[in-house]
Subunit: 653 residues, 2 copies
Amino acid sequence: MSENIYEDPPGEEKRSSESEKSNEDFDLAAIYVSDAQYNRNICVDTSPQAVRLYLLYNHWVLKVLLYVFILVDLCLAVFEDPAVVPLPLWATMLVELLCLFVFTFRLTHYAKVIPREKFWKDPKNICIIVILMLTLLDMIIYGALKASDQYGVRWSRVLRPLLLVNVTEGRQLRRAFRSIRNALPEISYVFLLFIFSILIFSLMALKLMGKRGLKTLDGSPYFTNYFEIVFELYVLVTTANSPDVMMPAYNSSFFFAIFFIFYILVNTYIFMSVFLAVVYNNYKKYLKEEIRQLVRVKRQKMVRAFSVLQEVSEQGGVPTVNHAHWSRLVRRVQPRMSNAHRELLWSVLDHQNQGQVQFVQVADLLNIEVITLKSRPHPFHSWFPALYSSTPCLLLCRLVRHRAFVILYDIIILVNAVFIGLDEDNPLISYSEWMFLVLYLLEILLKLSVFEPRAFFSRHSFWNWFDTIIVICALIATIINSAITSSGGYTSRQILDIIFILRVLRLIRVVDSIKRFRTIINTLIRIGPAILTFGQLILVIYYIFAIVGMELFKDKVKFFEADSSDPEKSFCGNPQLKGTSFAHLNYCKNNFNSIVSSFILLVELTVVNQWSWSWAWNSTYYECFLYLEQLQVPASKKYRNFLFIKELMTCFH
Amino acid sequence: MSENIYEDPPGEEKRSSESEKSNEDFDLAAIYVSDAQYNRNICVDTSPQAVRLYLLYNHWVLKVLLYVFILVDLCLAVFEDPAVVPLPLWATMLVELLCLFVFTFRLTHYAKVIPREKFWKDPKNICIIVILMLTLLDMIIYGALKASDQYGVRWSRVLRPLLLVNVTEGRQLRRAFRSIRNALPEISYVFLLFIFSILIFSLMALKLMGKRGLKTLDGSPYFTNYFEIVFELYVLVTTANSPDVMMPAYNSSFFFAIFFIFYILVNTYIFMSVFLAVVYNNYKKYLKEEIRQLVRVKRQKMVRAFSVLQEVSEQGGVPTVNHAHWSRLVRRVQPRMSNAHRELLWSVLDHQNQGQVQFVQVADLLNIEVITLKSRPHPFHSWFPALYSSTPCLLLCRLVRHRAFVILYDIIILVNAVFIGLDEDNPLISYSEWMFLVLYLLEILLKLSVFEPRAFFSRHSFWNWFDTIIVICALIATIINSAITSSGGYTSRQILDIIFILRVLRLIRVVDSIKRFRTIINTLIRIGPAILTFGQLILVIYYIFAIVGMELFKDKVKFFEADSSDPEKSFCGNPQLKGTSFAHLNYCKNNFNSIVSSFILLVELTVVNQWSWSWAWNSTYYECFLYLEQLQVPASKKYRNFLFIKELMTCFH
């Protein structure tokens, strides 16, 4: 892409001098504007055919379809060996082939849109091609091996989440990865210093405590092996084994407690804070650079769009765009925008009322959300004018709009919460649920009869939607449940669960009544998209680790149902786990035997190391080996911290 | 204090019109400048006697003495019942009386310095008076009770740490407390929402899992009591009981794992982030307000100092201060400043060389640390000129200054680290220690013979000081140890411990060789003062909790030495603890039986709940930024860059 942003692309100068703009010109300008609007950085071919293909390429249906197929591809792990729901090999293979076909089609489409030399220079396209080829190769090899009944590994599954990063729409994700990669060198210095600090402290611990003949709780020698000390002190940084690791030394002398407290102060608090500060600063620095580049590209796109539609008046002077052309362009970019909204934007641009503008800011203007508030009369007003203007009806209106109505329903919700907490086997309680349902339905109907329905269910009335959906679902589920109970005489556990969840969710509505709470919730909803990008990032990393973990550790640890009488149940089916606290604490289900349990296990490992979200995924691989070690090393002293407070509380009663 | 910062205090206008300034004028101006320099906000009486008393009040010896007595007062808890080192009641009482006397004396001194009505309006003075009275009252009551052999509680000990906050020098601490207090209302809303979220999730957990008949590891019913669920889920926010709390449900169905993961996502990650953000923002807001006020007061003080010394030239015009007066003032404020440094400051102020200035920025200029590098010849050069200029000596100089010399010693340190890690009972290893000591001594001597000693031991050469002190201490300790060993035939454990610590500390020196590491360490040293303020804050809170805990829980849990054969040992001397995991995990020493064990216990509790403290750490870092900001605000445009760059240079180079 050219560095000089005002340079016009070749071949457009000619067209822009003509007064009458063709349909293709508008297509081209619309592409530039919508690229700028959605921060797309794609260098499209300017031929009319490519432009039309590009408009199709950006159609939302195709994008959604692509993500659906990526999701299907990722979800295949549920059905492949080791499976949650086993399917025959040919079925998963067929679905995967279909996915590969879709991805290839999408890539071919993309190749037709941008110039050939640009396509082959872009690493993300090369990446997708390599992924597709390797996957195909792996499928053939695996199929052949299985056909001849030999052992095979589906290694190409590790590559699947990389598609999420490399598709054209994964811009945000690529940006996040790039920022992380750029920040790594700076982070590594702090990390090295942190490791150095642990090593020095471990050496000191070895020299101070190794020769005292101290014993741990299970009678083994305490702090005599350097590498064991390093491991214990590393775990102490996460505070997972505090205070267990310190107790033998503390029992011998309280000076050792000072050593451990100093260690935690330096490593857990000071180092982790510095670490976080460095990560945050560097990430911010590189993200800022990314955004700066984004803005440059955006400007460039707008200048190009402008150069396509510009007109030079007969007296010479600055080139401008007139109102008719502008309207046509905006209609093409956002067909569903109302006329009033479009005219509002024009008046913002043409604030001197000259009938013509220079529009570098249009893309940002289009992104501004304009809430159109139409004060429409209530339909009842036109249907039953006499009834609607009667005194009782007006009184009802005033009642529903009154603050006391909100407070009344908050109280009802609180009473409901108490009833939910009580035992539902009591018939009185279960009948009361019907009463609450009726009360909630009444509330919605009352509100609907007072407020204009289209305003009530507008796109921004999150809580109205929430309320109505929850109440109606609860009504349906309760009716189904009663029907099943009265006909068959038994209750379905699943439907009951759904009813319980819906009942409890209804209580959340209270939050909306308190202004401060509403502000906090709205803020959370606002940062949703950022969390979504982060979620994808986590998904990519978890998926890769889960696949690798499954291939390495599958069936090493087995889970037996509670009613199983298998003798192997007491040691999770692995003789190495006999007598370990891993087996004793009933952790058998924490294994890599399926994609679901792998994900849950990885989340558990992340949670224990909560001290740094940003670092968690760097250390996850290490955690896998830590997990492997846990299978062999007896007596892990983790996860016991809080017992001690509980005991303290019971003892002081 | 007046809001109009340019208003002159009454009674000074007269004096400032005289051309010859008296000694008292300089005293007064010096007070204003040094008050501004150290951000003191004290409204001093302007009478010459009060000014002289105030100069004495701010003398560093008196301040150090005050803090020593506060420390003694706080440390009394070590000797009072329940004591670590028991002392008779009369001894601690006498020391406490002495402390009270010192505090009273200091307060009286303060009362003489500031106007009477200001003294009685200031809540911190009232606070100190009340603390002193209550302490005296409590001592009398307790003494009387003890004399008549009755039970008494020394309740006034809780008030002791409040002295730290209320003494004149506790400005930073008061500022921190005030910011926290002001931020509390905003924080409480997020906290309430957080509590609400836990209650709702607990209700859902009760309804979903309460009726499934699940059992925990020890066979008790799982998730059947609402309040137990709330407690378990609260603990889960700190991730301390993850994944134990989830295992019974997860073993029954993996859908429940999703419930727990969602809970952790919402409460541990999202809510804690929002909580942090709100705390951080509010703390920042209020701290900014505090700093703004500080800057206003600072300006006011400087204007007053100026008005004392200003001269109006005969032609009228702006009042100024001439060079002689300025020099005399600076000499009085900072007697140890070198002439060159003072002249440098003057030339910065009087950049147009007019011989007279208006000096609102002096206070900030005085705070700038100017490192004076004097290139003095080495003393050897003057003592033995012939030897020092000889070829082998010059070669040695080049060798020692070479990069390879540093690398050589880094390698020696690493080899030393390996030797330390090996078993010191091996005679070869223990003799090698002598070799390393000699090598380190040789390094210091070589460096001393090449670099100028006063530059080598300058105030900013942290690592040279560190090195020399460690090596000399290690030498002395090793010699003492050998003497003891060869004479008595036994080794003293304490001396060996000290030797080990010194040996390991020596290894830290490696950090200095790598530039990036040095930068990180220097940054940590720079934020030291901020951490110190925070440390005092923690101390105040811990002390109060420790004293209350000791009175409530002392001797409830007893610790028995490992070789004790007391039957009560297995349950920490408390029958209620029989068979609990508290006793089983050997936590008996985690008790409130003395101030030391109370502090260690409180630290342990803090570490497990580390999330609640992380916000406080963040705010500490913020103070460092504010410190920079504070320097920026008062400076006029011309000096702003100068100050900022200078500060940046000293802070982050």
